[in-house]
Symmetry: C2
Subunit: 446 residues, 2 copies
């Protein structure tokens, strides 16, 4: 049978009660879209047998494929095994191969299998267990049958794959077992494309895109704003030949890129960091950072990108003012505690520029980014409220070292102020490398 549509399910009180963030559903959705299967719903269910079984049975009426994660652990709140059996109208039996695999997993670590883990070898009698090479929880495969689907006017089965919750067990199990069992409809093509913009708001971008965003078009074009980045999403879904569909998506992407230019900085999995790193690599230039309120986040975002070592020298986390003075040579005169009464203070254009210049000189790199601000919740004043951030950039030119600095009034909580600061430092560098330093960024005030 064909898998036209799918649902993603995640299990656990820790998710429904908000104690843990679900990242598995996103990952699984990405994999299904790649394969040409459209996820139409995500559901998170608590550790409650009745509810999980009801969610599986209900979803099975409307989709051809369910992939779940979580609830396969060894403890009493792990209920996916029993819920799947119930939704299938089946009973649980012990899977001999799973008992052996769990036992050898423990033995290879020099231990006997704890009694508790034996429950992980249970599977629905008409289902299959899926070997877990990275943990003790086998996955499960089962079919929820026609009895449920006939009520909804559908025919055939709904295939259900239940995977463990930890991403490093779930992901390899998906790749090695589930991916090969996916059967997207023959001739069904789904192609998605994303373009990312910076320095333009969502409604301004939508007005530029105009009729391209009509809801009856295929490819369908939409926009999403997240953390100051507005992304253009393009999706073709239909039965055109793949190369023709790809050409349609390509044409829509080119049209959108032309309408969104010059704000479009990349597409797909590109980030400001990856785009900046590629640009610097092509120019043979190196980058350093000097961070205060972000405390290393900018460096962390840069080094998320594999291969960033080609251009990233490293930098300084100058969280204390003492560190700013001793490590990158910011003058003591600029700080309130060591300078004159009218010293500009740690969060100022002067200190931001001195940090970037000092970092550039001491590292010998071609570019240096610095950030100093008040992330909150404490530390704000009337003149410099929480969210005040100065970001500076220093670079070398024929005329010597150049600097620019911008002041931002970042909204949101401590985490948001820090994330925006790291992102906008990279946006400033991108704009600078593009020769478009005049473009203002969202929340920039100076």
């Amino acid at each position: 049978m064909e898998h036209r549509t799918a649902a993603i399910v995640s299990m656990g009180d820790e998710l429904t009660l908000g104690q843990t963030l679900d990242t598995n559903s996103r990952w699984l959705s990405q994999r299904l879209v790649e394969a040409g299967i459209v996820p139409v719903e995500h559901v998170t269910a608590p550790d409650d047998l009745e509810r999980i079984a009801a969610v599986l049975a209900r979803l099975a009426q409307g989709v051809d494929l369910i992939i779940s994660s979580g609830g396969l652990g060894p403890t009493a709140d792990d209920l996916t095994r029993e819920a799947l059996a119930r939704a299938m109208g089946d009973v649980l039996v012990e899977d001999a191969a799973s008992v052996a695999q769990i036992g050898s997993w423990f033995r290879s670590r020099g231990r006997e299998m704890p009694v508790l883990n034996r429950v992980q070898a249970l599977r629905p009698a008409r289902g299959e267990a899926i070997e877990n090479r990275n943990g003790t929880a086998p996955g499960l495969y089962g079919r929820i049958g026609e009895v449920h689907r006939l009520e909804a006017g559908a025919t055939g089965f709904c295939d259900v794959f239940c995977l463990p919750g930890p991403p490093r067990e779930m992901q390899p199990m998906f790749e090695s077992f589930v991916r090969g069992r996916l059967s997207p409809p023959a001739g069904r093509v789904v192609i998605t494309r994303v373009l990312h913009t910076v320095g333009i708001g969502e409604s301004d971008l939508a007005m530029r895109l105009g009729g391209l965003m009509a809801r009856d078009r295929n490819p369908l074009v939409g926009t999403t704003a997240s953390g100051g980045i507005v992304s253009i999403r393009i999706r073709y879904e239909g039965s055109e030949a793949r190369n023709r569909a790809e050409a349609m998506v390509e044409r829509a992407a080119q049209e959108a890129a032309a309408l969104g230019a010059p704000h479009v900085f990349g597409g797909g999995t590109d980030s400001l960091a990856s785009v900046v790193i590629d640009k610097l690599r092509r120019r043979g230039e190196r980058l350093s950072v000097v961070e205060s309120c972000t405390g290393g986040m900018l460096g962390s975002v840069i080094t998320e990108v594999a291969g960033s070592s080609d251009v990233f020298w490293g930098g300084w986390i100058t969280y204390a003012n003492q560190t700013k003075r001793e490590q990158v040579g910011v003058s003591a005169r600029l700080f309130a505690e060591t300078g004159p009464a009218d010293a500009p203070g740690a969060v100022s254009r002067e200190v931001a520029e001195a940090m970037a210049r000092g970092g550039l000189e001491r590292s010998g790199t071609d570019h240096c980014l610095s950030i100093t601000g008040i992330a909150g919740p404490g530390g704000g004043t009337e003149a410099k409220p929480v969210g005040t951030v100065w970001i500076a950039r220093a670079w070398r030119s024929a005329e010597g070292i150049q600097t620019e600095a911008r002041r931002f009034a970042m909204g949101g909580d401590r985490a948001a102020v820090r994330e925006w600061s790291a992102r906008w430092a990279l946006a400033m560098l991108w704009l600078g490398l593009e020769g478009r330093g005049e473009v203002k960024l969202l929340r920039q005030v100076e």
Copy 2:
């Protein structure tokens, strides 16, 4: 009417297709649990009018309260307004106050309201618009009536609050408008408590907890493993007087803490970083970091904690080997490119210890943590595969500077290797401060 149970809904193709991570559902769940209302399901729906309306109508049969986020933007793929009206059996009308508010939002930024944004002022005729002080999208409130619920044997209404997607608009709107309208059942008490452990696996911890984890107990005790941290979750739900219920949860927490000791490092919103910072603050000691493969992530995790400036001096991002030599004085002899043929190399006990010692000496702090490893996907060798990470810790004692280093074989992708490394550096410091440096950590091999 009372809000006994709730559902959380998030809207958007970017979520169902896995292009964006949903963090709103967790945040909203946390707020409802605080208020004594149990979220029993999260659903993510695509930008599809029929589906969103169907999700709202279905959920309204089973819960008393729905809170949604997203789909209130100005573009054609923002369909929450229309879906809510449809689920209510209502029509959309223009809300005069919203038109005025959106207009003044733009005017205060020196602009006219774009024509496109006028659609954001629509609301169901029997519903209410909710002012947005941080963006252009008003929220919506409406009731889905008895007609739906009677089918399910329930009475009364389901209250629906639709909030905008961006967290910095959604969160203040929840606080200023929704929180005051929540009506948890009189006498209904929900109390949750979480304890966090390090250095013990989930099934070992479950065996220690034993009967405390029986599913028919109240408070209910469960465990969740995430990134090497196993958390013990305790939840009371019932009609006992609040102080009695709190005493029951406190007793269960004490029992769990005693059974889990000495692995319990904190509870609630405590993290390894916050616990270590508190400990250092009480001891009047300061901390610095020297990071290679994590590129600033350890500093970022430390400075996530408000008040970390009391103890955190800052540090160095020594991503390039040149930076390790020049900035913290690691001997050139230790690196393959500048040392002898049998030099230990950048990822070695020797370099990790030299980084921590150099950082300690140059910063003058009391503790320094260093990380050097191979995050991948490239750079691995047979002797040092991807995931090989050395973490060192240096500190001062009466006998002079002391160091310890541990080698780990971290699993997972680049992001996982880096996250585990930053977390385990803090775990090593916590164990050291507790005088329990002998406890092995998960994935430690030396």
